[in-house]
């Protein structure tokens, strides 16, 4: 999602974090007897044996927060990296809010960006009280104490954190703990600091939500309407009676389906297959994809909203009239599913005071009140246990907490006594909505006799993501859902008379942010068009882009030029290529991170092969360079797999894709190599989970155009004329 994180905004956030320390780092005293350790502050725990545990307010979906947040605390405490333990924080907005959101949640590539100062301050505050406690115990000055690999030292005295933890927890930390100077960093910036989650994820011991098992737990699947917005009218479970392990089938209270319970996941799935149901489709989505596409294209004729301040449709129309040539095209990008590897699931059990939710929980600040509201509880009665999430790509963060609410309804329908684990199958996932919206774009770009852009009329039609959600007040302004136009309406390119119009398409089918949100389609269209304009103007694609980023007083221009120049150098841009090969470039800013990518393709009998991807990224201070590289590699792969061959389509409102064979994932053989380079920077760190995605698709489209002359304007590519080797 888009979050307002300007440089000024970051500083304000940092100051707010500092101010919050006075309260946030108040010591909590020694932990329960027998534990022997102490909670130094909400983010730092120390056991009696010296084990340092970092408490993580952000969940881990693969993006590396277990490593990143832990690095920040460990750095300031001079901890022994291999010995630092981690645990996920409970749901508690008062302690664990995302400083950019105001509530506890992970998304918008903000985990490191919002935590950078806070987690360092938490580590520095813990260090300060541990040193103070040691100084008192040893009778030495605090300035005589040094820390190295988790050990405090003064002269011939040494001791681990645990020896001073209980005393430290009773002390008041300094209001503004002293942070290390960047020149003293040992862990931040370490090129190969090992990931904290590698061991558990390579021996089968990492616990994901789907692995949670509780005494007397039943497994459940939900029989849902085959069309979005359908309501259950009746069902017949008689044929399920003979299924071994079948427990019961009950309608859930909101009319959305039938909960089917079993003594195993397989029993529940088998029983569901035997149950028939009748539905009321009077308010359901019943259209088919070709009609939906035509409706999107028609909406481009008369945009509802002006979405780009500074120029109107009248301005761009006037500017286009005198152009020497006009580049124009329509683009159409399909609905996409997130399809995280771990299918959605959620386990709920009764507690003395309410319920406990077991989940790879991305947005506790929303899940808690939504589950509470569903069950008639106060949010304080809902406890959340966060475990590893097997991917998300946006799906587990959800403005209506859809799968948690379902799990609560399924738990409720069985009587609220037995723990219930609701599991989605892959079929449920692909047909389950909350897609990246379909997006149609239309552009007309005027070019003068010198090869410069004179005006740009750009239009977008898409189903809005944020309207009607708790985020509407922040992200929708004057009717414009920023999630539909981010990346195009706010492009840093210096383009005169550039208007962006927007129309909303509407449906009972829910849509959602998908890794990089609006940028997932706007960057594809923008960077394809820039290449088309460069070609029309007879200019080199990188030189052309640099010419639109020439303002030295503009930080965006400087950093976009930085990644473009680095990627040009590292990719061998401009160098000779064998016959049949082509290179394409794209550059894009998203989530305050700057990424340029060059893709080199070969062609063999018309079949395209992605030989090499070169990526340059500027995300400010690189806390964990290898995690950043991994996120770029993953972002490139996620983008390219979908651009090459994924789409969700419907026939009479029923989703056509059943399982992975119909939504073929990227495979190991699809990409030859991905080479990532970081721009050295001292700027505040920004996100990396999403920004690798936007430039990859257009870089591939531009490479294909360079190699074959074919310009792709409709996705996915393999449904629209491109064959892959």
């Amino acid at each position: 999602m888009t979050v307002q994180t300007t440089r000024r905004g970051f500083l304000a956030g940092g100051l707010a974090a500092g101010a919050a320390l006075v309260v946030g780092f108040t010591p909590k005293g020694a932990l329960a007897a027998g534990h022997g350790g102490a909670e130094i502050n909400p983010f730092v725990k120390v056991d009696a044996d010296g084990t340092l545990t970092v408490v993580l307010k952000h969940f881990e979906m693969g993006q590396g927060t277990t490593t990143g947040l832990t690095t920040l605390v460990a750095e300031e405490m001079d901890a022994d990296w291999d010995a630092v333990a981690i645990e996920f924080a409970p749901a508690d907005d008062s302690k664990y809010a995302n400083l950019f959101f105001g509530g506890q949640g992970t998304g918008g590539s903000t985990a490191i960006a919002n935590s950078f100062m806070q987690y360092r301050q938490a580590g520095a505050a813990a260090r300060a009280v541990l040193v103070a406690a040691a100084a008192k115990q040893w009778g030495v000055a605090e300035s005589d104490i040094t820390l190295e690999k988790g050990m405090l030292k003064s002269g011939d005295k040494t001791g681990h954190y645990g020896e001073f933890a209980a005393a430290a927890a009773e002390m008041t930390p300094p209001a503004e703990p002293v942070l290390k100077d960047a020149s003293a960093f040992n862990l931040i910036g370490d090129a190969r600091l090992p990931r904290k989650d590698s061991a558990a994820k390579t021996d089968g011991t990492a616990t994901f939500a789907i692995d949670v098992r509780l005494p007397d737990m039943v497994y459940a699947v939900l029989l849902r309407s085959p069309k979005f917005g359908g309501k259950l009218t009746s069902f017949d479970a008689s044929a399920a009676a003979d299924i071994q392990g079948f427990v019961d089938a009950r309608a859930i209270a909101n009319g959305a389906g039938v909960a089917v319970y079993g003594t195993s996941t397989w029993a529940a799935i088998s029983a569901r297959d035997a149950i028939t149901a009748e539905w009321d489709f009077s308010a359901a989505e019943t259209r088919s994809t070709p009609d939906i596409e035509a409706e999107h294209i028609a909406l481009l004729d008369t945009p509802t909203y002006e979405a780009r301040p500074g120029a109107t449709l009248a301005d761009s129309t006037a500017a286009l009239e005198g152009a020497a040539q006009v580049v124009e095209a329509d683009f159409l990008l399909p609905h996409l599913a997130h399809a995280p590897m771990e299918p959605l699931n959620c386990t709920i059990e009764a507690t003395e005071n309410g319920v406990r939710v077991h989940d790879g929980c991305q947005f506790p600040t929303l899940t808690r009140p939504f589950v509470a509201g569903t069950l008639g509880l106060d949010p304080s009665q809902v406890e959340i246990v966060t475990v590893y999430a097997g991917g998300s790509f946006g799906r587990r963060a959800n403005t209506v907490s859809d799968y948690h609410v379902e799990a609560a309804l399924v738990f409720d329908a069985l009587g609220r006594e037995r723990p219930v684990k609701l599991v989605w199958t892959r079929e449920d996932d692909l047909a389950g909505g909350f897609y990246r919206p379909m997006a149609a774009h239309r552009a007309k770009i005027g070019i003068d006799g010198d090869g410069n852009i004179t005006g740009w009329d750009h239009r977008v039609a898409a189903q809005p993501i944020f309207k009607g959600t708790p985020f509407e007040a922040v992200i929708v302004h004057d009717g414009v859902d920023h999630g539909s136009v981010e990346g195009i309406a706010d492009t840093p390119y210096n383009i005169p008379a550039f208007s962006v119009g927007l129309s909303d398409w509407t449906s009972p089918m829910p849509v959602l942010w998908w890794r990089s949100v609006g940028h997932s389609h706007t960057a594809f269209v923008k960077e394809s068009l820039i290449d088309m304009a460069a070609t029309a103007a007879g200019r080199d694609p990188i030189e052309f882009r640099l010419s639109l980023l020439g303002d030295d007083t503009n930080a965006d221009h400087k950093r976009l030029r930085g990644v473009l120049e680095l990627v040009a150098e590292k990719s061998g841009w401009g160098g000779d290529l064998p016959e049949g090969r082509g290179r394409g470039v794209a550059v894009h800013k998203s989530f305050n991170t700057y990424v340029a990518e060059v893709i080199e393709v070969s062609t063999n009998d018309g079949a395209v092969k992605i030989e090499k991807v070169t990526c340059a990224v500027d995300c400010g201070v690189a806390v964990n360079p290898d995690v950043i590289k991994a996120q770029m590699e993953g972002g490139v792969g996620y983008a390219l797999g979908h651009v090459m061959r994924n789409q969700i389509t419907m026939t009479d409102g029923v989703v056509d894709q059943a399982n992975f064979p119909d939504y073929e994932p990227l495979r190991i053989y699809d990409i030859g190599s991905i080479d990532v380079h970081l721009v050295p920077s001292t700027e505040a760190p920004t996100g990396v989970g999403e920004p690798g995605v936007p430039p990859a698709g257009p870089a591939l489209a531009n490479a294909i155009a360079a190699a074959t002359g074919t310009r792709v304007t409709k996705l996915p590519m393999w449904e629209n004329g491109i064959e892959f080797a």
């Binding site: 693969g62 089968g204 098992r213 590897m341 892959r426 399982n659 992975f660 699809d670 990409i671």
Partner: protein, 153 residues
């Protein structure tokens, strides 16, 4: 039906309906949750286990067909190739979300057992059925080469 299952060096008696996929017996009955459910149609490889030392998709392996076979899951994998693969995976920090990695590792061990010194083409061919939505493929390929070197050492 009652099945005598030989899994991870132990014999376990399991009660399951014919046609029950081995995957769900492993996960829900035996509580060996390192083996994952990803698609249920053998197109992602997250459920890969070894049957008599060969990688199979446990979601499409039925309980009545495994009697007498030796099943090994990620929790009990051992030997030269397994040790090399797990060490290489950690050395290169292959994992992201990690959900598919049990299956990737079981498949990679199968590859190195059959082909101790694989080429990129060998790897791409043998690992083609194991999907990773985080797209850790480049590191998987590199880690298999590192594991092959470790096995030689």
């Amino acid at each position: 039906m009652t099945i005598e299952l030989s899994i991870n060096g132990k014999t376990r008696s399991v009660e399951a309906a014919p046609g029950t996929p081995l995957l769900w017996v492993i996960r829900d009955e035996l509580n060996l949750t390192g083996t994952k459910f990803g698609c249920g149609v053998a197109s992602c490889g997250a459920c890969t286990v070894h049957m008599d030392g060969t990688p199979v998709r446990s979601c499409q392996t039925y309980i009545e067909d495994v009697e007498g076979a030796e099943i090994t899951t990620i929790e009990a994998i051992e030997g030269k190739a397994a040790a090399a693969v797990q060490a290489a995976w950690r050395e290169l920090d292959v994992v992201q979300c990690g959900y598919c990695q049990s299956g990737q590792i079981m498949q990679a061990v199968g590859l190195l057992t059959e082909t101790p010194k694989p080429t990129d083409e060998d790897i791409d061919g043998y690992m083609a059925g194991n999907a990773c939505r985080c797209a850790t493929y480049q590191r998987i390929r590199a880690a298999i080469h590192v594991a092959a070197e470790k096995m030689e050492a």
